[in-house]
Amino acid sequence: MSEAQDYKHIGQRTIRPDGYDKVTGRANYAADLALPGMIWAKVLRSPHAHARIVSIDISKVEALPDVMAVATHADIPNQADPGAINILAKEKALYHGHAIAGVAAKTETAAEAALALIEVNYEVLPPIMSIEDAMADGAALIHENLITKGMAEQPTSPSNVSSRMEMNKGDMTAGFAEADVIVEREYRTPTVHQGYIEPHACTVRFDEDGQSMIWCSTQGHFGVRASTAGLLNLEQSKLKVIASEIGGGFGGKTVVYLEPLALILSKKSGRPVKIQMDRDEVFKASGPGSATRIKVKIGAKKDGAITAMEAHLYYESGAFPGAAPLGPGCMTIFTPYDVPNQYVEGFDVVVNKAKVAAYRAPGAPQSEYACEMLINELADELGIDPIDFRLQNAAKEDTQTLYGPKLKAVGLVECLEAAKNSAQYKSALEKNQGRGVAAGFWFNIGGVSSVIINMNEDGTGTILEGSPDIGGSRASMQMMAAEELQMPTDTFTAIIPDTAHIAHSDTTGGSRTTFATGMAVVEAAADIVTQFKERAAAVWNVTPEQVEWKDGIAINTSGDGEMTAAEICAAAGRTGGQITGLGNINARGAGPSFAVHIADIEVDTDTGKSDVIRYTAIQDAGKAIHPGYVEGQYQGGAAQGIGWALNEEYIFNKDGLMENPGFLDYRIPLASDLPMIEAIIVEVPNSFHPFGVRGVGETGIIPPLAACGTAVSQAIGIRMSELPLSPPRVLKAILEA
């Protein structure tokens, strides 16, 4: 079905429907809603990284005339909910910025001023800020009862390691024995942030006898409903969540921080409540990406055949056990390689940092960074071109993965070949310049998506979908509906209704939306085709089988007669009522999207500053529904990964306090930091999707880390292993060499 088809609508570079509101400033984001009678709330946050909360005295604040409500942990209705202690701290403040109390007041200024009058008595404890500190003998315990899960023998004493996992295939001893060359190195990556430009914010209204509402920016409004309803002991039907336009998420807007607190304050005050985080709160108290320490060992024969791959991975989880994306990190690390002998062991480690959240291909950029750096080093040792080395060992259809399934048709080889043929790879480098190549693998997911297409009386269609649109997916949905119904794209308008007007849909994450929600759209559109045929058949007094649907027109194949969608819809009341297509599915078969990136970097050896001078991002899209927005995902992923590789990191002082909670000092790439990014779309169709779609959102952030890491290493002639490759670190390496 998906082989080299001629499509009429998909594959076009249409104007996205929500674009008009976004270029004119009309689009409404999380912080843009004000309600009559609304008051403002602010959050008091821990000034310590690790402290016991001895007491909280709110009496002075409650007495203030402008203050309408105050909330602490004791005000959370469902104390047993495991999420409760990250909404408001209970016995301990577990990280710098941990929410302690919320205050709602008549103005934002009054709420802010009131925070200073909350008296919190802390007993400061030693902060645990690194994997080494956490795992050291005699380390202070963040959780007194944390027993490591997944050990061969269950430990009897608590530690800061919450779990261990391992995966194995083949015979490691034999594999390394076969190798002519074995390389081994340890890599480190820092705590990083998704860096979405829109801070978390919400406006809520509690309604005790009707339906409470939350307006917020989220990747999944059904998740917000489930989490908040759970914490407040509400029935889901009594809570309506409206997903505003979302100003970036990258995995960071998949969990609740403010919404339950705002609703508690609204309940207490009887007023609508608005909260918005400041940028420093976003950095300190939303969910960053894991810092890691990863040891990798790879062996190969002289001819380039890899014989064994082994890794030991340590992921920081923040202060909350099990939050690290350890599983995906371990599962993805060796997937680009068809190698019989592989072993990984991973640990989830708690530290006094904010609870880790998903960040674009969660866990994979860190683990694949380590693997890809060492693959490049091994290629060097063997004297083989890094692309040829990967081609020789590349995963392909039927490759047995370490984590379970065999791969279906995948596009890694095609991406590597495109890289080898790219203009950049054929170009020459100059002095102080280096080139890095790296591959990336990400599973992508499917999941539950709900779609309704309501056909209107004039023959236009309104697509209701449950997946918040971050990067232009409404355009894709319209194009897929148009393709299936063989009608013009602008016949359809896609909107994301609130949780009361569409059934549950899983969060926009895992690169699932265009794949899974797209499948639901196609199913709903096919449902409409069926009904169009039935309705036309009823008018013509023939059977539906005698009606053909072609180019957006019903044709009576056993007589004369044609009806357009508009005519069928106008007559719908007389042929059985209005026409609605349904697509409520659980999508299976999300195809992985492999990528290969090439980075050319020039290092200023006087300052240690690295400049990306040329960059190519190649990735398998299966089928690009909207090529412009597919390229945008590749380019955006590349830029984010470049930032991770070259500059971004949380900097903590000796007390565990974050010292750079702002965009000036946590410096994400600027327009002046980057070159044009050549995006090359490879299309190896995913047989599970009607149009061959694979998710494309996440893979692109994986290869830049090792591509840049290798390029810098080559430029300065020193193998670098710890990210970021910021000017001070690179300069130090140059000076010490």
Partner: protein, 159 residues
Amino acid sequence: MTKSHITATINGDVREFLCEPGDTLLQSLRDELGLTGTKEGCGSGDCGACSVTVNGRLVCSCLVLAVEVDGAEVGTVEGIGEPDKLHVIQQKFLEHAALQCGICTPGLIVSTKALLEENPSPTEEEARYYLAGNLCRCTGYDKIIKAVMDAAETMRGTA
């Protein structure tokens, strides 16, 4: 605290509003005047999402006090383009898919307009440095720069 009474010309309309001495122009635009097209990304002048013009000069509205614009002319994204016709810059951003989440887009539209008024023929490098104060986390800037260069060319052709 006594509020100040401010009169300013905003997108060509004379508007009056009250503000506290510490209120930023960004707060007044968004919360008092209902002009929510101007976005807050950082509140510290680092992201450019709140870019506006004051007397023709490009500024971060989070770094300007509301009281400072008394008697001034303020331009926001809402003043760019006609009700039935987008400005060329807006149109080019759409055509080049130069936005994903769109939260940085209003600031970039305002900054690009200021750039092209100052320099109708920027090089790619000049455009990149002029727009370095407008952070975008989604696009990697590639398509933004293409849209800006295309808008510049179109505006030169139609000027």
